[in-house]
Symmetry: C2
Subunit: 352 residues, 2 copies
């Protein structure tokens, strides 16, 4: 294909975008098409870093909003080219998230004078290790490209606003004992038995529900793994309980670590990694207008998404896109046409 | 070497036996030497099965006792040929258990008219998987060769009588739940958390101490392993706690399984394998005489040993040998000369 035709309706454009395969690491062809098409749009200035393309209006509006989507997909499931049937587009990338990218490209091309300045971000490497993430790379190397008052990440949400996202922290709780032959167990000190109290506290812990901007973030503190044992005839001298804490975006990573340490007071708690959440920012005027325009009750986002990268830059962000999240990464991936049209209409109204 | 010289004192014979390498699976050369040497002894009749050699007196005594030892060793630790220094023999097999074998060979050769008929058993494959064990093979194929009123297994015990042995049972306790994304943990059911109560009961369980023939067998019920977990962001749907129960030889395997099931009532307990213990049989006249002659307080044997194979054939058995058990299977393996001489002297007195 030589060029993208941004005059195509968003559903047709979704099909075109999906049929240009762009598994993570192979986004260059699609990024070239996006860059070329946007460079032809007179009201946009375009930047590129790797396979991330950033286009923006410069109308000196009082507010700037960011509309972002990743252009890579998970591995193909033998489900391309796309098949359209009964108002539904089937194929890899339809829901996650080229339907959202299609809407963003349409807005970029067809809104020469939006009521807020808009920065459109099309980025690479979202579906792989965090360190490769194109949005993260741009945040490190060109943070100014992502500046704004509010961001919309067009991940699949069934055309509802899902605000912010919760943070996540992983910690290992390490129990130590002494080995002995299990025929003389009283000579040892059983580290696996010691894990019982850790599990009891985790099971008894009542996770908080934290309300922010009218959204209730429901936290969770769980063992996600446990391992211990040397051999069938040895009293184990070590047991490790892996814990995952999902915390409301009002808490910092340090505060989250303190919660875990308090619950497991007296145990050897080692934080392995953590990522902060993202505040929904729904009290911001641009966000409030957006939510009102979408016209559905906004929901909190529980899972971690790239909105947290915007939040880390001081830009409140929400998830909002036409896709059906439950079919993402599935061989049966699809996206209905109606929410694609609805998203484009709502976003257009918001920016007009 | 062409032949074993059974006129050598037991310590020298120990050195000779150790210097004929016989790692499990490579016992043939040593078994040939043992068979040949015993065949030259006029008061013995000799049988062989694989690399196990059985020799016996047939004096129509009122009692028959079995004296047994394995002729294989664990892998060499670069510690042969033997080195003798300051009354101590260093080298692979010295303690476990060619010093005991040397004593048994000396008794076989030099006691033409023992006060009890004696069956001497020198067997292969003790240091490897149970199904290869030569004593087990003979018990299956020639149980009559092992008939007797009492057995002495000359495993290392520091020249003390260690009576019988405890049984052992392994069971898996399987906890089931439901997976969910850990960001929505309330949609799942955490199988690792459920293991907390299993560990609590195991930690709280007070193992029994069972007295048999004046020996106190101290039981133990322990988690020896635990595993669960799918990924750092998934609520685990399965957790398995591996449990090991060491039980007094007065309990059957079925009774042992009932104890474990009672302690873990309400949980899915799956018995993986078990092996019965061995009663010490110290009330038997031959055993009582043996203990009296050894002249030290007998001890219970906690770990499982091949005495259980005799017990399964209805032959009470004890462990008694010159070796130091704590250096078995170590590169630093050694055996002192004094207990070798003491064992030979005591056994000779008992059988004279």
């Amino acid at each position: 294909m030589d060029s993208l035709d941004l005059s195509l309706p968003a559903p047709e454009l979704t099909v075109v975008l999906c049929d240009v395969e762009s598994v993570s690491g192979s986004e260059t062809a699609l990024a070239d098409l996006v860059e070329s098409a946007l460079s032809d749009v007179p009201h946009l200035s375009v930047d590129r870093d790797g396979d991330t393309v950033v286009a923006r209006t410069s109308l000196a509006r009082a507010e700037r909003v960011v509309v972002a989507g990743h252009i890579d997909t998970v591995l193909l499931g033998d489900n391309l080219p796309c098949r359209v049937e009964d108002g539904r587009i089937h194929g890899c990338g339809t829901t996650d998230m080229k339907s959202g990218v299609a809407v963003a490209l349409r807005l970029a091309a067809h809104l020469p004078a939006p009521n807020r300045d808009v920065t459109y971000v099309f980025y690479d490497h979202e579906e792989v290790e965090a360190e490769k993430n194109g949005l993260g790379r741009v945040a490190r190397d060109h943070a100014d490209w992502l500046a704004g008052d509010f961001a919309v990440l067009m991940e699949p949400t069934n055309a509802r606003v899902e605000g912010g996202c919760q943070g996540t922290l992983r910690a290992d709780v390490v129990l130590r004992g002494h080995r002995s032959h299990s025929a003389r167990s009283w000579m040892g000190d059983n580290a696996v038995h010691a894990a019982g109290e850790v599990l009891r506290r985790l099971a008894a812990y009542e996770a908080e529900q934290v309300e922010i901007d009218g959204l209730v973030y429901r936290e969770g503190l769980n063992a996600v793994g446990i391992s211990g044992g040397v051999a069938g005839n040895v009293i184990p001298d070590e047991c490790v309980v892996s814990v995952n804490y999902r915390f409301a975006p009002s808490r910092s990573e340090d505060e989250a670590a303190t919660v875990v340490r308090d619950v497991l007071d007296g145990f050897d708690v080692r934080v392995v990694d953590s990522a902060p959440g993202a505040l929904p920012g729904l009290s911001h005027p641009a966000a409030a207008a957006f939510v009102e325009m979408v016209g559905r009750e906004p929901l909190p986002k529980f899972g971690w998404t790239d909105v947290a990268r915007f939040s880390a830059l001081g830009v409140p962000a929400v998830n909002y896109g036409p896709g059906e999240p439950s079919v993402a990464h599935q061989r049966e991936e699809y996206c209905d046409i109606a929410p694609i049209l609805e998203c484009e209409e709502k976003m257009t109204a918001w920016l007009s």
